[in-house]
Symmetry: C2
DNA sequence: TTATAAATTTGTAATGATTTCAAAAACGAG
DNA sequence: CTCGTTTTTGAAATCATTACAAATTTATAA
């Protein structure tokens, strides 16, 4: 699916900036921050403002076109991959990994008591394989 | 268990300030922020510094005596309730609720592929029952 | 106890992500 | 094209958190 189709699917008007941000997130596997998104996109769109990146991401998140990852307290990461999955945050290198996550099991965990669930986030923190093997040396 | 015992259990020296923070979190069911913890404790300990609250919480989290909740990107909440449970964040009122969470099912979701898991966080966002009934009026 | 070292606390200043806001620019309907 | 609406922009303000060095408290040993 193209970025344009993705935006339309969520009822978001496709401006140049919105398309660029959406496109960027769809291509990215690294869960970028606002800073990273801005730094890369300003190369393509020199007039781009960081505020626009913030506005756009807020809009995308509000319409569930992308997911906000708030594992690191300080700054938000964004994820354009919308299928169900969990995340792993490495305490050593700071990278965030996508993890498989069985949807059926995840669903059985949902509380059933009058709360309306709009989104679910599951994440782990610890040490990734790479940092682990570095430590063993 | 007393706050003092709790600290000792995690190998943390019990200073007046640390005891106060630990005690506060053990009594609290509302997942307070640094600001809230500080504002309340400074009444008891007038010389208390906000930096100390930060230091103490960092220490408690590093030793797993409390959990840091990072649902809201902007600021961290803290949870002194150490049994396994998930959280629910209400998008409307901003309150964070404790939710039951079946440990066995949560465990089956864990990825088994070389990642060393040190902590697990599961949370939902949506509308709480109270805000839901307000909206229906 | 007393001296000394180590751990902890404190307050201020700096940092950095995010928000606010009003003006400018782009867009869309008639 | 023109008017009204939406979107973007940039600068300034806000707010949580971190850095850091001085001051205080606590632990240790003579």
């Amino acid at each position: 699916m193209t970025a344009r189709e993705h935006l339309e699917k969520y009822g978001i008007r496709p401006s140049v900036q919105r398309l660029a941000v959406m496109q960027y997130l769809m291509n990215s596997k690294t869960h970028p921050t606002v800073e990273e998104i801005y730094a890369d996109l300003v190369k393509e769109i020199p007039t781009l403002s960081k505020t626009t990146v913030y506005n756009t991401l807020d809009l995308l998140v509000a319409n569930r076109a992308v997911t906000q990852i708030t594992i690191e307290g300080g700054k938000a990461h964004y994820d354009g991959f919308t299928h169900i999955h969990s995340h792993f945050y490495c305490n050593e290198c700071g990278k965030i990994f996508d993890m498989p996550c069985d949807e059926k099991h995840l669903r059985t965990l949902e509380p059933k008591n009058g709360f309306i669930i709009e989104s679910t986030q599951l994440y782990y923190t610890g040490i990734c394989p790479e940092c682990r093997s570095k430590n063993e040396n």
